[in-house]
């Protein structure tokens, strides 16, 4: 909008660049966007390595999509052929074993990175105003991640694939009145079978690419507010910031390489350690495995599901354990962001993290005896944390005075 056309309806092309760069950028302003958002973008100076896990998660996602595409060239999504097509990939396709193991293990490492990333948000108050939408888009992506992972796990059509699918889809029948009809609609048959695996394959692709699309919203909302940092205090001057490039790019590169070294150890020397041996047995609708266990990243939520004795209650508890997390920006009443300055809330958050691991352990055990009792306590704490502690602690606690970024950096240097 210039002084001559206050309406702004006269569109003129302009670009800060010249030459071919300028020609493209004036018509499709990606170059100036990339420069603003990924090169010059100001980032607090006080970030620690917890902040690298978002980028690491994104590399995992890209890796999953690439390996997924190349697996897709060979995989056959039918009940009859799926298991054999995966073994063909492992044995006959050139480097098929590498692509398959990479795909499977990247899922686990994607969840590791995401869980650390979410912990960072909880500990440093990144979910609080004005970053609520960054957080919510993140939780939506997490939800989609779990859907994608569940669908993907059914595709090899091993025993765990089949029976895990049976158990989880049966949850839909818990919905009153319409539950059974929805279940049949979802499965395309009266049981998990050929119709199911075919559509699960399509949905797996669909959800995976949806996550990729949502990354854009997650990053846009983040760039509207700028990154949080360990102090929770916003930068007050340019001196308290750094440009994304080269400082954060090289820092994230370091963290990513280290992360992938750990991935490489698991991938090349213990590729099946995070999986379940039962999934190397062909799916058999007549034989149920002794212990149906989901993959490790689902275990906490599986524990919550089985902690509630009522079927529908368990389903509601499982879904709301994540759904209520989305309300945390409003449930948490504290004006202070970071746990560094919130002594009581800090304990609550660390206990929540411990609870997560306890529930994970319980989820892998049979749902009986001491295991289910502990799972119930764990579930109780989860909801206590969100619904009672978040509002109360914010109200009652006396936080410390948050340092400015400069003072925080000075104190660290000392």
């Amino acid at each position: 909008m210039s002084a001559n056309d206050p309406q702004g309806y006269k569109k003129t092309l302009s670009s800060p660049y010249t030459g071919i760069k300028g020609w493209i950028d004036s018509r499709l302003p990606l170059i100036r966007m990339m420069e603003a958002e990924y090169l010059k973008f100001p980032v607090p100076k006080s970030l620690n390595y917890f902040w690298s896990f978002g980028g690491i998660a994104m590399f995992c996602l890209i890796g999953l999509i690439l390996t997924g595409i190349f697996l897709g060239f060979h995989y056959k999504p039918s009940a009859e052929d799926a298991f054999n097509s995966v073994e063909r990939i492992m044995r006959d396709v050139n480097y098929g074993w590498l692509i398959r193991y990479l795909h499977a293990n990247l899922v686990s490492f994607f969840f590791i990175a995401t869980y650390i990333h979410i912990f960072r948000a909880l500990y440093f108050g990144s979910y609080k105003a004005p970053r609520e939408l960054v957080y919510i888009f993140g939780l939506i992506m997490f939800f989609l991640m779990m859907g994608t992972a569940f669908l993907g796990y059914t595709l090899p059509w091993g025993q765990m694939s089949y029976w895990g699918a049976t158990v989880i889809t049966n949850l839909f029948s818990a919905i009153p009145f319409v539950g059974d009809a929805i279940l049949t609609l979802l499965l395309g048959d009266f049981n998990v079978g050929d119709a199911t695996i075919n559509r699960f394959y399509v949905l797996h692709w669909l959800l995976a690419f949806s996550i990729l699309g949502l990354v854009i919203f997650h990053v846009i909302t983040l760039h509207m507010t700028g990154s949080n940092n360990p102090t929770g205090s916003e930068p007050q001057s340019w001196d308290e910031t750094l440009t994304f490039h080269p400082y954060i790019t090289i820092k994230d590169l370091n963290a990513t390489i280290l992360f992938f070294i750990i991935l490489a150890f698991v991938l090349f020397y213990y590729p099946n350690i995070l999986g379940h041996s039962d999934n190397y047995i062909r799916a058999n609708s007549m034989v149920t495995p002794a212990h149906i266990v989901p993959e490790w990243y689902f275990l906490p939520f599986y524990a919550i599901l089985r902690a509630i004795p009522d079927k529908l209650g368990g389903v509601i508890a499982m879904f709301s354990s994540i759904g209520l997390l989305a309300l945390l920006p409003w449930l948490d009443t504290s004006k202070v962001r970071s746990c560094l300055y919130r002594p009581i809330w800090r304990i609550c958050v660390l206990l929540f993290a411990l609870d997560f691991f306890i529930l994970m352990y319980m989820g892998g055990k049979p749902a009986e005896g001491i295991y289910v009792i502990i799972a119930r306590f764990g579930t109780a704490y989860w909801f206590l944390f969100l619904l009672v502690l978040a509002p109360l602690v914010g109200f009652l606690e006396t936080p410390k005075q948050p340092l400015t970024i400069s003072n925080y950096l000075k104190s660290k240097k000392a």
């Binding site: 190349f70 060239f73 044995r91 006959d92 050139n94 480097y95 750094l242 440009t243």
Partner: protein, 174 residues
């Protein structure tokens, strides 16, 4: 927020980026290679054929890499005819001796070089065209007793696949 580009810093950055690039390229190799035919496909890439049941004048069709291959036990008349054709009469000039290893046995791909139909002529009851070999019903190409194109729109002779004689009566195609 300064960026003093000392030569040492530049070198380290260059080394890191180069090594990273090498890594990325090396990572691409297994992915691209995975698109090539798998080991099971390659195992079926050669077929062994026992020629002993084929009597003089008889033809056999086998499948090799998904395509038909014509194996003909040629009679002496057919061999004579094939040898006596002058190169000027051929659209795709090729001497019969270049197309066979043992003149009794003709091994050619049964795919018309025009647009890919399977020519007739393998069965004794089949139309064999004007030159005693094969006739393609799709657009009227005529092949002779050496599988060479003599009349019709096909540009090239029926291709000879790679094969070896394992014994006098056994060949391996591919």
């Amino acid at each position: 927020m300064s960026e003093q580009n000392t030569p040492r810093r530049d070198f380290i950055k260059l080394a890191t980026m180069t090594l990273g690039g090498v890594g990325a390229a090396s990572l691409a190799i297994p992915f691209i290679t995975s698109m090539n035919p798998g080991k099971d496909t390659l195992a079926l890439a050669s077929t062994e054929i026992d020629l002993s049941p084929l009597k003089e004048g008889q033809s056999l069709t086998v499948i090799w890499r998904g395509k038909p291959v014509f194996i003909k036990h040629r009679t002496s008349t057919e061999i004579e005819e094939a040898k006596n054709v002058s190169m000027e009469d051929l659209k795709d000039a090729e001497d019969d001796s270049k197309r066979v290893q043992d003149s009794k046995w003709l091994v050619v791909l049964g795919v018309c070089t025009h647009l890919g139909c399977v020519p007739l002529g393998q069965k004794t009851t089949d139309v064999k065209g004007d030159f005693g070999g094969w006739f393609c019903p799709c657009h009227g190409s005529h092949y002779d007793t050496s599988g060479r194109i003599r009349k019709g729109p096909a540009p090239k002779n029926l291709p000879v696949p790679p094969y070896v004689f394992l014994t006098e009566s056994k060949i391996k195609i591919g």
